[in-house]
Every structure is written in C-alpha cells, then in structure tokens.
Symmetry: C2
Subunit: 241 residues, 2 copies
DNA sequence: TGTACATCAGTGAACGCGCGTTCACTGATGTAC
DNA sequence: TGTACATCAGTGAACGCGCGTTCACTGATGTAC
C-alpha cells in the first residue's frame, strides 16, 4: 500500500475516534469514575476485549479523553481570540472568557473531567500537562499583547493610580507569578500577571459554580452575572475599557 | 427507660456516627462515586445488610455526608468570623476566607464532595439546600455588618470614586443580586452584593484549582497567592483596609 | 418486681448484576519476493 | 501477477472480583401491665 494510509490504518483511526466518541457520551451519563470499557464496547457492537487493540487499559482511554478535552477547550479559546484584532485587548479578553464558558456549557461532563474533582485512583500522566496549559496560554497571550500595545495600564477605574504596574508582591508569590509570566506572557510584570491569575481563577470558579449547581435558586440563569463579571475582571486586570 | 436516651438509642447514635466516619475515610480513598456500603460494613466488622438499619440506601448515606460537610464548613467559617469583633470588617473577611480554605485543605475529599463535580446518578435532595447556604450566609453577614457600620464604602483604592454604591447592574442580574442580598445581607445594595459574589466565586475557584491540581508547577505552594488574593478581593468588594 | 409481648439490631444466604483483563483462536489485510 | 508469510483486528470463553438490596431468621433490649 501507499499514500501512507492503508485501509487498515484508516479503519483503525476511525474506530479509535468512535471509541472516544462513545466514551464521551458515557461520561455524560455516568461520570468519569464509572466509565466502563465493557459498556463502550457493547454500544459499539464489539466484544470488550477488542478495545484492548486500541487502548491498553481503561486509564489510557481516560487519558485520551482528558487530552482531547483540554485541546478542544484550548482550541476554542484560541479561535475566539484570533477572531478579534490584537489592538482590542479588552474585546479579546471578553472573547476568551466567553469561549471558555461556552465550551464548558456545551460540554459539561468533559469540563468536569478536567476541572472537577480528580478521578479517584487515576493519576494524570505527564502527557496531559502541555494540553492543560493551552487555555491558560491564551489569556497569557491576550495580556502579553495588551501590555505590549499599552492597553494594559492600570487599576480598575479612571482617576485611579496605575496600581498593578507598581504593586509589589510578597514572596514566594512574586517569583511564582514571574515564572508564569515568563512562560505565557513574557515581559509582563509579575504583579500584572498576578492580577490576571486572580481573574483566571475567578473565571473557573464561576463556571464551576454554574455547572455544578451552586447557583440554583440564586444566580440562575447565570449569563448576566457572567457577562458583567467578565467586564469587572477586565477592569481589575487593568484592561482599558 | 427514661432520660430520653435508652441504651439502644445511644448505641444507635454512636453507630450512625461510626458509619459516617468510616464512609468519610473511604471517600478519601475511593471518591464519592465508589463509596461502597459493603466496604463500609466490612471495615466496621458488620454484615452489609446491617447498614440498612441505619441508612435506607447508599444515596441516603451520601446525603448525610454532604449535609455534614456543608455544616462542618459553615460552622468553621462562623466560628472564625465570630472570633473577630464586628467593627473590623476586613479582618472578618480575611478570617472567613482563610477558614474556608483551611477546612478545604484539611478535608479535601469532603470539599470535592460538595464543590467538585456532582456524583453521577445522584440527585441532591432538598435537605441539602439549607446547609449549602450556610457558608455563603457567613460572608453575607460580614458584608452586612461592614455595610451597617460604614466600613464597606467604595471601590478598591483611596482616591477612587465610591463605585459599587452607585453602580447599576443590568437585568436580570440586578434582581438576582438583590434577592441574594435580601436573603443573606439585608440592606446591602445589589451592586455591592454582586461584587461580593464575584469575590465568593473567586475564592472557590482558587481553592478548587489548588486542591484539584491545577496549580502544580506554577502557584504551588499556594498559600502566598491565596493570602494576597484574599486582600485583593477585599479591596475589590470595597472593604476599607 | 415479674411476666408477656413488641420492637429492634444484626446475621447469613441469596439474587442478579457489572466490571477489567487475559488468552488461545480465526480470518482478513498487508508485505516481500 | 502470484504465492508464502507476517501482521493485525476481532471473537468468545473464562478468571476473579465487587456491588446494592432483599429476606427470613435469632436473640437482645425495651415497654406495659
């Protein structure tokens, strides 16, 4: 055979995808902890032992799902930011935050898989680290560009002194935030990065509360709170309105 | 028998407690989804069917654990705030936030049980609603008292206009935040409450990231970031330094 | 205080179920000459 | 183009395990008279 893809190769790639798709469907029904190879095989009309030609164990299937989820979220955020011109930092910030929430709302069980409680007995291998950083790198890029173009200047309101620029952080936070900045937003001061990290954790806290039911009976539906908060955090991070 | 407690009653109360304690121990090892009545019984030297004298089903045991966890967290926050005099709003805020984190770090699996991904197939009954609101009521009380004593006045920095007081929120957020305020911080304006809610979601987002491993390799150990952020959010909420 | 009866905790066997993983196998697909 | 061999996907049976829940039972504790 030629063209670097034999029929066997193509069949294998396709079935691998179908296995992951079915596993994702079962995540929604039963959660990651109860993801069952036998149930996946059953649904695909295969015998359970056949799956072992595709994934050496249940945990490897889980790992693949986790990596896919991080990648899907990261890609959606990247796309959303790329659709806004670099000169409009605040709009890019908004686009990034809303992309993260939209993806989470559309894929709540995959969101839970990566940002919810860890699956007991499952130890995430090193291959998940890079995809996990992808979404954070997007907001880092937004801050980096905004800083470079002078859009990222000060505290939260007109008339206020340019706080984060001059702010000093206690150790070891200064070092930690500096390293994060070096990794995803080189040139951005540690104190500015630290504010970005506060906003970043706020974003995921808010999404988790929405998806995991903490807003039932109070901030539900959460769209208005979300949109308002994203702007509040943009102010806080120092993005010019 | 008299004194309202027969020997049977005492034995029953004690064993109920032991069952929950053992179940809590197993949460740590296996997670909520795999909490097993049989394993709990085995560890207590009982036969599995005996547990049905105490909890009518596995889900009822889970519910009891959830309620206990909310109550334990709420009580710890209440105690921490009560230890600081009402006139010192910012210190109470700090005390509350640190109490929440301290409890979460000390009981990571119980934290995951209530603030992590929902247990698949388990529907939380109404009895969990009141205990769930307990911790939120603590921060509401802090804001309420600070507002009443005039400590809760403005935005984040000296020289800045008193933003949240005059801020107007879009609907339906204004209504939602107003209802939350009416419930846990009567008299506090909706816009001020909304800022409190932003800080509240940030708090849990940060704790979840720490406990669920998102800070590994960056903000770990997280104590410095946490302490700094709590103060940042106190500024943001409008608590005078 | 003593007896007769009711309540309740805990037992042990059973029902019916699902799980991850291994293994020897058949038969189709791909490769080298 | 044709044949001989190697690779691989998928099968079906089996291993050993754990689970939640029900049920008829024994024996201890509590209650009423």
């Amino acid at each position: 055979m030629s063209a670097s893809q034999t029929a066997r190769d193509r069949a294998r790639a396709e079935l691998t995808g179908e296995i992951k798709a079915e596993a994702r469907r079962q995540l929604a029904a039963a959660g990651a902890a109860q993801l069952s190879l036998r149930a996946v095989a059953r649904e695909l009309g295969m015998v359970s032992s056949a799956l072992y030609r595709y994934f050496p164990s249940r945990d490897d299937l889980l790992t693949a799902l986790i990596i896919d989820a991080y990648d899907a979220l990261g890609e959606q955020a990247e796309r959303a930011v790329a659709a806004v011109s670099p000169g409009r930092g605040r709009d890019r910030w908004r686009a990034c935050c809303h992309a993260v929430r939209d993806w989470a709302v559309a894929h709540p069980h995959e969101y839970a898989l990566i940002y919810g409680s860890p699956v007991p007995g499952y130890q995430a291998p090193i291959q998940t680290v890079a995809p996990a950083a992808r979404a954070a790198a997007v907001i880092g890029g937004v801050l980096h560009d905004a800083w470079a173009t002078g859009e990222l200047t000060a505290g939260t309101r007109p008339g206020e002194p340019p706080a984060p620029r001059s702010e000093t952080l206690p150790e070891p936070l200064a070092g930690q935030a500096g390293l994060v900045a070096a990794a995803i937003a080189p040139g951005v001061p540690a104190a500015v990065m630290a504010r970005g990290l506060v906003a970043w954790t706020q974003l995921f806290g808010m999404i988790s509360f929405e998806l995991f039911g903490q807003f039932v009976g109070s901030l539900e539906p959460a769209a208005a709170f979300f949109a308002w908060t994203v702007d509040q955090m943009a102010d806080y991070a120092g993005l010019r309105a």
